[in-house]
């Protein structure tokens, strides 16, 4: 069902867990839908310095979340925003067809976290302007 690559990432994800001091967090999925992914980003000067995740979900969800964290690390935010699920698929090589949606969920989650970072930044800038 899952290939060796997926299983090895699933078994030893390098980016699993939360992050203190993250300045962008994103959450996608619902318990009722099967998977929840939460992403934590540390962004400095529009470069993603650190990315971590938490997942309630299947192997494919955990592997996809871990891969996307690897991909965005040291990446400018603008590049991260143009990532697609096929970038994750390229690393994982293959997923059962009914699990491919996990890669889209991971992309959505990263975008949600970047969105959160931008919103926070905007708020901060407005605050600074008004002062």
């Amino acid at each position: 069902m899952y290939n060796k690559k997926v299983l090895s990432i699933f078994q030893n994800p390098s980016n699993a867990g939360g992050m203190k001091g993250a300045n962008g967090t994103g959450k996608v999925g619902e318990v009722g839908c099967g998977d929840i992914m939460k992403f934590y980003l540390l962004i400095e000067d529009e470069i993603i310095k650190e990315a971590r995740f938490k997942v309630f979900g299947c192997c494919a969800a955990i592997a996809s979340a871990d891969v996307v964290c690897d991909l965005v690390k040291d990446m400018p935010v603008s590049n991260a925003l143009s990532l697609t699920s096929s970038d994750i698929m390229e690393v994982l090589q293959d997923l059962p067809s009914n699990k491919v949606y996990c890669t889209s969920l991971a992309i959505d989650g990263i975008k949600d976290a970047i969105d959160d970072y931008h919103k926070k930044l905007e708020k901060l800038q407005k605050k600074e302007q008004s002062e």
Binding site: A16, V31, G32, C58, Y101
Partner: protein, 391 residues
Amino acid sequence: MSRKVYLDNAATTYVSSEVLNEMLPCFNAIYGNANSIHGFGRDAAAIVDRARDRIAAAINAKSANEIYFTSGGTEADNWAIKGLAHANASKGKHIITSAIEHHAVLEACAALEKQGFEITYLPVDSTGLVKITELLRAIRPDTILISIMAVNNEVGTIQNIKTIAKTAHENGILFHTDAVQALGALRLDVQDMEIDALSISAHKIYGPKGIGALYVKNGVRIENLIDGGSQERGKRGGTLNVPAIAGFGKAAEIAVRDLVINQQKLRSIREYFLAKLKENIDYIQINGHPHQKIQGTVSVSFEMIEGESLLMLLDLDGVAVSTASACTSNSLLPSHVLKAMGIEDDLAQGTIRFSFGKNTSKADVDYALEVLTSAVKKLRAISPITKAGRR
């Protein structure tokens, strides 16, 4: 991955050596077609007759000719539901079953719905039991069949089959039961339990895959599902699978012979497992009836964890279990059984079925629990659902 522990005996079992020895001569020594009239055929027919007698004895059927061999439990269920429905369609087109049946029954019913039959799916309580009051309320003048499983495959709850059968007969309705998970786990007596039709399968009781049987009480009319030759007294076409039938007969005989000792052993393994499980892992829920359940199956929900990832982590360490739920295509398909029992979606999703077999040892349980404890810890550490905010 050195050690391997198989805790999925409710899915299928290995073929025991006693059964295998019974089967082997039927592949190349006694290879005749059981329906041929020559000596080769008669020898094969004698094997089939003996197996039929053994199976009839195992469920206390009045006569061996009430046993019809099928390709397995699924065919037996399909045949019972569709065959009894069509044979009795002139009396009515209403069927009662339960929400927690095996897919073989549920899908057979769904197929009948397309043909104009009406199906009532009885709810169950939180322990997985069909309530007799609900059954009484569902019975209509045009109800022709009630089909309720004897033992649920996911949680192991045992239904009050005799009461349900009596209720059916008091209302002039036929009663079928899917007893695939019950054979070998509890004493089945089709006469005492007043069962009209009963489905069983070999591969859950240390017999081969691909063989099952439908018991149909003499005098009960049933339409054919598989048309063909004159096999099974013209009721089920197809050359008889003599080796598998021989194995099934032996497996059924052993299942009844060793029932008490096997259940005692399974009970002690189950209690050992549960005690250690509760000691090592918190935030869990044991599903099913507290005592009206078979000994071999334990359904456990692990909070904050998704079942498939837990199954895979166990598998990577050689421990085989199963999940009922599957998260696919972005929409959770929670187990229909757990859902009917009122278990929340997130909990249903984190549910694992452990099913023990007659060769499961305490050392197996120790190893499985060691692997399980660390897997649960690992997945909870990366779960976005926290203990405080879990519901």
